[in-house]
Symmetry: C2
DNA sequence: CGGGATCCCTCCCGATACTG
DNA sequence: CAGTATCGGGAGGGATCCCG
């Protein structure tokens, strides 16, 4: 008779869906860029200004990755000075409700999380 | 008349809800641990075995952070050998539907994302 | 304006060894 | 069994300079 709690890694880092979520919306910048594009197309400089603290390197890099994943479309206008616009693709749009619902969750529970942290730091700290 | 696209960082790295989401469910390990605890209390070793590829350092560290945030409760049984169990708190439970729904999203769109990647690598690569 | 290319440094995290 | 402590490599990402 085998052990019921036998070793079977049910959550594989390689295959499981949760890893794929994080593979796509991995970085904080990815989430913020998608959020910034939620209400429509934006230019590069607009994004840069709207997302506080992002460096151009990370903006470019992350927006490229989102484009590669098919979540963001990049439009280059042949003009002087150059103008580049970014917008969410239909697939990119489909992730918005999930982000919104996560946002709702935070708005509802963040206060409790902060209380828990203070409690933890007060009692369990050495 | 002011510029309509004036510089107003609407998405602050410091304050916005999306950052708080990532602050709580930041790492991949956090998500995988919560997922592993979805169907009930687990012992330390069980978690370690169920989550493929996690080191004990990251398991301990992440589980501690989740405990600090009030998402996970840690039970220490005074026994020899020692036994420690982890389970989701009520707050921890409330995040599960969001994770599930993200999982659904991935299952629905991941194929398209992979297609987009291949397309991107084929055409836009140098 | 919208990037590309570099330098450089932090800190994440895995590996390893030890403990109550 | 369930951790803690320490070391070290490597990648993430910021700062800076340059370009079409």
């Amino acid at each position: 008779m085998k052990n019921v709690t036998a070793a079977k890694p049910e959550i594989s880092v390689q295959k499981c869906s949760y890893m794929r979520v994080l593979e796509i919306v991995s970085s904080k910048w990815a989430v913020l860029i998608i959020a910034a594009l939620a209400d429509g197309t934006k230019r590069y400089g607009d994004l840069r200004r709207r997302i506080e603290g992002i460096s151009q390197k990370m903006l470019t890099q992350t927006v490229r990755q989102l484009e590669r994943d098919g979540l963001v479309k990049r439009y280059v206008h042949d003009s002087v000075p150059p103008s580049v616009e970014y917008e969410l693709t239909p697939i990119g749009q489909t992730i918005l409700p999930h982000l919104f619902s996560m946002k709702q969750w935070v708005n509802e529970y963040y206060a409790e999380v902060e209380r828990a942290r203070q409690e933890y730091d007060r009692t369990d700290r050495k």
